[in-house]
Symmetry: C2
Subunit: 201 residues, 2 copies
């Protein structure tokens, strides 16, 4: 399998963390990409018209995207339970994945406003709205954090990657302030080999 990849994309990191947890990372070759919100990478577009990473190519040429689909495919390949079969655990994990993905969508839009858009066309109201989504979602994560302990599933993997992205790109938010349960959980979760091997240093 080949994965169009990027060292700092949090959605790519979800796939690599999942692959490491499943013992599949050695079966995936990373392909570099220059995926960017405005300047599209034509090599990626050839396979995935959205031009986004992560994009997985199976050995028979089948294209799988996006991160949710790729992670579920890898989980199935390993006959594992990162997408839990038991219903209550499954919906909990999938909702946590949606919260983490949604937080990342907001964070990326806020970042594009600062880094991809010409400065004279930046709109503070847009950045404020995305930052408000991040704050609300962090509050919800904090309220749920007490049930994260010991859970390794697509929900906690996504939340770990989302919080790691805030550390990488939004250090000034100082998100640990006011979210002690989440901070304590992440300190433990980030020690996992899968998170260490994929840290965007």
């Amino acid at each position: 399998m080949k994965l169009f990849s990027s060292p700092t994309s949090p959605f790519v990191r979800k796939v690599w963390v999942t692959a490491h947890e499943l013992g599949l990372s050695d079966r995936i070759t990373a392909l570099p990409s220059a995926a960017h919100p405005v300047n599209r990478d034509s090599t990626v577009v050839t396979h995935n018209p959205l031009g986004k990473v992560p994009t997985l190519l199976l050995d028979d040429g089948t294209m799988l995207a996006d991160s949710r689909v790729i992670c579920e495919y890898l989980n199935d390949l390993a006959d594992a339970d990162l997408f839990p079969r038991e219903r209550q655990a499954r919906w909990r994990a999938l909702v946590d994945q949606a919260l983490g993905d949604g937080l990342l969508d907001a964070a990326l839009l806020a970042r594009y406003e600062r880094t991809a858009r010409p400065a004279e066309l930046a709109w503070q109201g847009w950045v404020d709205s995305q930052t408000d989504k991040i704050a609300s979602t962090l509050a919800t994560i904090e309220a749920r954090a007490k049930v994260f302990d010991g859970r390794v599933d697509i929900g906690t993997i996504t939340l770990g990657c989302a919080l790691g992205y805030l550390d990488l790109r939004f250090a000034e938010l100082d998100w640990r302030q006011g979210h002690p349960a989440t901070a304590a959980w992440l300190a433990t979760f980030e020690a996992r080999p899968s998170m260490q091997a994929t840290h965007p240093r």
Copy 2:
């Protein structure tokens, strides 16, 4: 069950089409929302910190989001096969869902640039980039359209809602031009009662 809803959201439409296909629409009460990319609806935010629709509330208060999670939940509730169990069909449906959702993400970002952002801060480069994603994705859909016939699954439902959204908001794209196989497929698919009942007229 209660669904925070909006009459023109294509992601909300995915849920209603799914519910109609499964015979579950009578069990869901629509709750109005004023979800907006910048001005957030505090009633929705109380339940879903991302403040987005669709957001489903189960009778026990459990919150499910986003559209992918809600649709999979409904499919499971009905013990149905809109998320196919057979592997090849499943990945095909999930990739088609991802293409449709990605097309919609691009379309919504292009629309927000025109309708939500102050006109003097609009950036044509951003609109062009999103429009290019729509065009590439339409080309891929056209190439896949020959295998859509007879398929009713979360992939074709999403693509139907995505194309319907282009008709609603991007009539000037005239997407049927150059995509005859897709246009022919949609004409048949849109005749389904589930699509008729949810048409954003």
